[in-house]
Amino acid sequence: MIPLHWYLWLGSVVFCIGMAGFLMRRNIIIMFLSIELMLNGVNINLVALSHYMQDLRGQVLTLMVIAVAAAEAAVGLAIVIALFRNRPTVHVDEITEMKG
């Protein structure tokens, strides 16, 4: 039997790689991918906990996360398209119109 925290470590590593990617990359599409990565890291943890705690709520939550991820990807990519139409760049550090 694999100990719980191995799974959790795996999820954490995926999450942190996603986070690093989000923070490091300039390309907004890859940043979105990084977010998906982070979500997947979380999902791994949720499912692992669900299994070890013998409770399906974790998996329900995972389903929700997947749904939200889908919604987020749809809206986010739509924004990217709209943005690109407006300014032909996907590099976020060049898009600072919303700064305070």
Binding site: L23, L33, V60
Partner: protein, 169 residues
């Protein structure tokens, strides 16, 4: 056997994750991601979550990644690729991510569930996984489920509106 599978999945997942965030070309990233999702689905299988594994493949790999690919194809990114992929502050970002990782890993050390729920392996086996999940989802979490559906609807409408609208410069 399980340990071996877990080790394989873990190694692949980590390597592929790194490749996802470091690839210069977004198309490559997406393809690495595809590989990643299949391996994560494998991990889910290890955890007796076959429904989720299937969902992972169908929704993520089948739907979301395709969406990404379409977007990338839609945008002409040849020029973008030649520019530097990382922001100026990437070492700092990496450091922060590592710091968080170390903290989390340290925090997780020796974690044990303090609570055991009603859905042990036996119960799920008698009920079948999908049915069990359905029972929980449609009884206890009916309202969140409905809300999730509304969220998806709003997202669809929003995506259409955003993508269609001509922004005035």
């Amino acid at each position: 056997m399980v340990e071996f599978l877990f080790g394989y999945f873990s190694v692949v997942i980590v390597i592929v994750s790194v490749l996802v965030v470091t690839s210069r070309n977004p198309v490559h990233s997406v393809l690495w991601m595809l590989l990643l999702f299949f391996h994560i689905a494998g991990v889910y299988l290890l955890l007796n979550a076959e429904f989720l594994a299937a969902t992972q493949v169908i929704v993520y790999a089948g739907a979301i990644l395709v969406l990404f690919l379409f977007t990338i194809m839609l945008l002409d990114l040849r020029e973008e690729i030649r520019l530097g992929p990382f922001t100026g502050g990437w070492p700092a970002a990496l450091a922060i991510a590592l710091a968080v990782l170390i903290t989390v890993v340290a925090g997780i050390w020796g974690l044990k569930p303090a609570y055991i729920g009603p859905w042990g392996i036996k119960e799920i086996q008698t009920e079948t996984h999908t049915k069990a999940l359905g029972k929980v989802l449609f009884t206890e979490y009916l309202v969140p489920f409905e809300i999730a559906s509304v969220v998806l609807l709003v997202a669809i409408v929003g995506a259409v509106v955003l993508a269609k609208k001509k922004l005035k410069t």
